[in-house]
């Protein structure tokens, strides 16, 4: 058997996944933290203030990576859910449900930083800018998936039902985005493009890429940690969990 296939197959057994996640989650967290530290340092101190927005544009360095992460996490969740539904792989069910809280956290960051960044621009905390509205609805989709997962008692049914909702959600997401953009153009004409691709001079890019990579690494760490918790919860009856829980006398 091809080593990668064997590895993936091995990962399917809960005790092996427990050891794998316990080892790799902290590593991914720390790596993410380091890369983000570099990115934040660059964002806050190295990059010159913007002539028009002053320092407030530095919020871009956490807003944009979080926005991309919230979309990527939802797509990944739907992908895991599809695999879990079609091939009934328990590991993918756990990973799909582990994506939801992390994705919701990044969506929350995107919304909060977006509204804080918009305050000096629009004078209000909230503007029905198409992208912010889509992000808000994305948060509702995340909360829907998490709510459904916790509402059903049987863990496997819950993850498959919530997985199906994630797939329906990811199919409708572009439609929601398009409809909100169309709606905006109908009512307010073109507000100033807050997040328009204003000309980014090259010196501003490295911290942005560092932040993007950092958030992705952090995402992997958080995903593994949450999957580990859910895995333990599902296997709580088995004796390998009891042995693991034994206080190391």
């Amino acid at each position: 058997m091809h080593p990668v296939v064997r590895w993936f197959h091995q990962l399917g057994s809960p005790p092996y996944f427990e050891r794998f996640a316990a080892r790799w989650a902290p590593i991914a967290y720390i790596a993410g933290l380091l890369v983000m530290a570099y990115g934040l340092y660059g964002a806050l101190f190295v990059v010159p203030a913007d002539y028009q927005q002053g320092d407030s544009f530095r919020i871009l360095y956490i807003h944009v990576p979080s926005a991309w992460m919230s979309m990527a996490a939802f797509a990944l969740m739907a992908l895991y859910a599809a695999i879990a539904l079609i091939w009934r792989i328990k590991l993918c069910e756990i990973l799909a449900m582990a994506c939801a809280p992390v994705g919701a956290a990044f969506t929350l960051i995107t919304l909060a930083t977006g509204s804080i960044w918009g305050k000096p621009m629009w004078g209000t905390w909230w503007d029905w800018d198409p992208r912010l509205t889509t992000e808000l609805i994305l948060l509702f989709l995340y909360l829907g998936v998490i709510g459904l997962y916790n509402a059903i008692d049987d863990r496997r049914n819950a993850s498959r039902a919530a997985g199906l909702l994630a797939i329906v959600g990811v199919a409708l997401l572009p439609v929601i985005h398009y409809s909100v953009t169309w709606w905006n153009s109908l009512h307010q004409g073109q507000t100033i493009r807050l997040f328009g691709q204003s000309h980014m001079d090259p010196s501003m890019l490295p911290p942005l890429w560092a932040m993007v990579i950092g958030t992705h690494l952090w995402f992997v760490g958080s995903l593994l940690a949450r999957a580990r918790a859910d895995n333990l919860r599902r296997e709580s009856g088995k004796d390998w969990v009891a042995k693991l829980a034994e206080p190391r006398a």
Binding site: I137, N157, R160, L165, V168, L172, I176, S179, L186
Partner: protein, 223 residues
């Protein structure tokens, strides 16, 4: 076989509706109440109401449909009929489609019939009425189909009232936007056909995909 099963299901639903004809008017009454509340909240003055009439009517119909969603599969799941549907020699998605059509016909259709009357209450300008009815005619089946998927997802649970709303409303956003938007576009003199065609496209897609998703959800829920 397909048509006999569909006929049997339709006759059954019509008989059930006739036995419970007292409840058949509930969605229409609910929509009327929502309209009255909006009118009171907005001060009942004609100009103010006319501006938001289409949006209020769309919201009233959408919320009435949402409330009726819970009864879509719950009755059949509780008395064991849903299990027999799974064992029928007819695809489950076909039965779900027929059931959703009957549910739409018994809840949303009365609302469509009542809309002109409700529109009068809100002083809706008469030229907007045709576009509103067209958008509702295309939008409400779409709402029922997407709602069927959400109802199927939550059929296995006891207390799922609010959860259905939390799951369904984000999915309803595009339908509400294009529905109310088409009337708003018509009001501004723009051509509403674009939005209506998009609603039609969504309806055609949902007619095929939603029953499949709902059938899969029912299998998961009864698992």
């Amino acid at each position: 076989m397909i048509w006999s099963a569909a006929k049997a299901l339709m006759i059954r639903d019509l008989r059930l509706l006739w036995r419970r004809r007292g409840d058949a008017l509930q969605p229409a009454l609910f929509a009327l109440l929502v309209v009255v509340l909006f009118a009171l909240a907005l001060g009942g003055e004609a100009q103010a109401l006319a501006k938001v009439a289409a949006a209020v009517l769309w919201l009233a119909v959408l919320l009435a449909g949402l409330l009726a969603l819970d009864t879509l599969f719950r009755g059949d799941a509780d008395d064991g009929s849903l299990e027999q549907w799974l064992l029928a020699p007819v695809p489950l998605s076909w039965l779900v489609l027929v059931r959703t059509f009957m549910h739409w016909a018994t809840t949303a259709l009365p609302l469509l019939v009542a809309t002109p009357f409700l529109a009068e209450l809100l002083h809706l300008p008469h030229d907007q009425l045709p576009v509103l009815l067209a958008s509702l005619a295309l939008g409400t089946p779409l709402l029922s189909l997407l709602g069927a998927v959400v109802a199927a997802l939550t059929v296995g649970m006891r207390r799922s009232g609010i959860l259905i709303a939390l799951l369904a409303l984000p999915l309803y956003v595009p339908i509400l936007v294009f529905g109310a938007g088409s009337v708003a576009a018509a009001a501004q003199g723009l051509d509403p056909v674009g939005a209506l065609l998009l609603l039609g496209a969504g309806l055609v897609l949902a007619l095929v995909l939603a029953p499949l998703a709902a059938a899969a959800a029912i299998r998961i829920a009864l698992d």
